[in-house]
């Protein structure tokens, strides 16, 4: 409980600092004035420059964090996150390819198709008759599918006119530049719906945590519950990708980070913690990415990559040592 309060407080603080600091810093007074009167530099920052960006970061981080903890729980493996298993790359490929081909559908829908296709491909390639897929195999197959999707994305970009290609390149690393309130509405609206859908499946996930035999003994339709949860997880990740690109490692890190911080024991608590932690990581990474080097705005994905890659290596070596891979 105390950990939960700390996490929430950290998130609010990070959001506040992220709005105040940037290429042009403003003070609390200016921000307050902008909020109340709707005028002055505070209002400009809030309405157009940083408000939508930070709000999108919160939303995208939250959906990625929730997606990550769903897969980590479902597959009982801290490495099993949608970014590691190639689902976010699949969603990214779909978005870039659709742009290149001039498909005019809403981004979240396109990203969802790409994410689901990648997930189905991973499931098919790692499927074994009569036996559960070992976690390492699932992760390796996922990595492979992810690399293939990234390669195809790079290829699709060569088909784009050069100005668009530069944007697409940036977006593919995970970027929150030039977000507006439509992006905010998208990620918050869809995120909220999918969040409710997830919490509706909480009982099923709670039973599945005990292993599929005991879950079936408790009256769960195991196959259906697994597909429902995996589908929800993929859609959550796709919504994040649609507004912010395939930001790497947020989904991977959010669950374990919040579990460490909050010590939450109930599954509901762990999911809520991962939502907050995903948002916190994304907001902070974006803040550092645009404020660290004066004059240069790095994409958020560069920052999460810099923290996430060492984390992944540490996690991998730990799992290997414990023989859990």
């Amino acid at each position: 409980m105390r950990g939960g309060v700390i996490l929430t407080a950290l998130l609010f603080a990070a959001v506040l600092v992220a709005v105040l600091i940037g290429q042009v810093d403003i003070g609390m007074a200016e921000l307050w004035q902008g909020l109340i009167t709707g005028e002055g530099p505070g209002a400009l920052i809030l309405d157009t420059i940083r408000g939508p960006r930070v709000a999108t970061a919160v939303g995208a981080g939250a959906v990625l964090g929730l997606s990550g903890v769903i897969f980590q729980t479902l597959l009982r493996n801290p490495l099993a996150a949608p970014d590691i298993m190639g689902f976010t790359s699949g969603a990214g490929l779909a978005v870039v390819a659709a742009t290149a081909l001039g498909v005019a559908l809403p981004m979240p829908l396109i990203a969802a198709c790409g994410g689901l296709a990648a997930a189905v491909l991973v499931a098919l390639l790692s499927w074994r008759r009569d036996a559960a897929t070992p976690p390492l195999m699932l992760i390796l197959v996922g990595l492979g599918v992810g690399f293939a999707a990234s390669a195809l994305t790079t290829f699709s970009m060569t088909l784009l006119p050069s100005e668009v290609a530069a944007d697409a390149q940036r977006w593919m690393t995970g970027s929150l530049a030039a977000r507006d309130w439509r992006h905010v509405a998208q990620v918050w609206g869809l995120g909220l719906i999918l969040g409710l859908v997830t919490f509706g499946q909480l009982q099923a996930l709670t039973a599945l945590e005990l292993g599929s035999d005991l879950a079936a003994g408790l009256g769960l339709n195991v196959e259906r519950a697994r597909w429902g949860l995996a589908g929800t997880g993929v859609l959550l990740a796709a919504v994040g990708v649609a507004v912010a690109g395939p930001i790497p490692f947020v989904a991977l890190m959010a669950g374990p980070f919040s579990a460490r911080l909050t010590g939450a024991r109930t599954l509901g608590g762990r999911l809520a913690g991962a939502i907050a932690a995903g948002a916190l990581i994304t907001v902070l990474a974006d803040l550092v990415a645009r404020a660290a080097l004066s004059g240069i705005q790095l994409p958020v994905g560069v920052m999460t990559g810099l923290i996430g890659a060492p984390y992944l290596l540490w996690r991998l070596s730990r799992e290997m040592e414990r023989g859990e891979l």
Binding site: R76, R129, D130, G200, Q203, T206, A207, E209, L210, G211, D213, L214, A216, G217, L218, G219, L220, N221, G263, R265, T266, L267
Partner: protein, 256 residues
Amino acid sequence: MSLRAEALTLGYRDRRVIDALDLDLPRGGMTTILGPNGCGKSTLLRALARLIAPRSGQVTLDGRNIHALPSRALAREMAILPQSPLAPDGITVGDLVKRGRTPWRGFLAPWNDRDAAACTEALAAVALLDLADRPLDELSGGQRQRAWIALVLAQQAQVLLLDEPTTFLDLVHQMDVLTLLRQRNRDTGLTVISVLHDLNLAARFSDTLVLLGPDGLVATGNPQEVLTPDRLMTAFGLRAQIAADPVAGSPMVIPL
């Protein structure tokens, strides 16, 4: 009123494990499935619990094919404790036992008094009420096994299947678990069907034994009928003599 296997054939891919087995396990009894490793005990138990579908034949509960029953309704009548259930990291005993209420809880239904009472009663039955707030992984092996049993007791099903509930326990804790199940069977009429390895404990705590061998069913009936030297030879390839257990009077297997 019983759990029955009717011409039940089970297998994996091209391998047939159980062939046209007929069994009648009456309600209110304590039944133990015995046999050498790999003969199909778990396979049979899993089929009785509807965890695997039969190749042919069927399993019926009071005359109803279990595959035709809704999952949740079946879970209210029949519970299974698999051989190695998975414990979520850091879970407490109390939280673990609560999960046994799953089949009784509606979509988003709040936790109610009946759920709470069932959990308290289950924890009391396994003598773990005092440890309800302790993390499962801080418990001893015997206590941990009792916590898992409390989970399936909280499920309040009248038929309980257990796959090797005593295998990793020392003799004292094996006795503990079996005494507890027998108590429950006597007090509440719970039907207990389990897979065990210890022939003597099985003889002592069971009303019915089901002895499987490498080629399927060897014998079924009460312990005196089933445990005979030639049947032990057929099932296990074991040369043994049978004597009466000086304490319980049940047959006792003495390997030669």
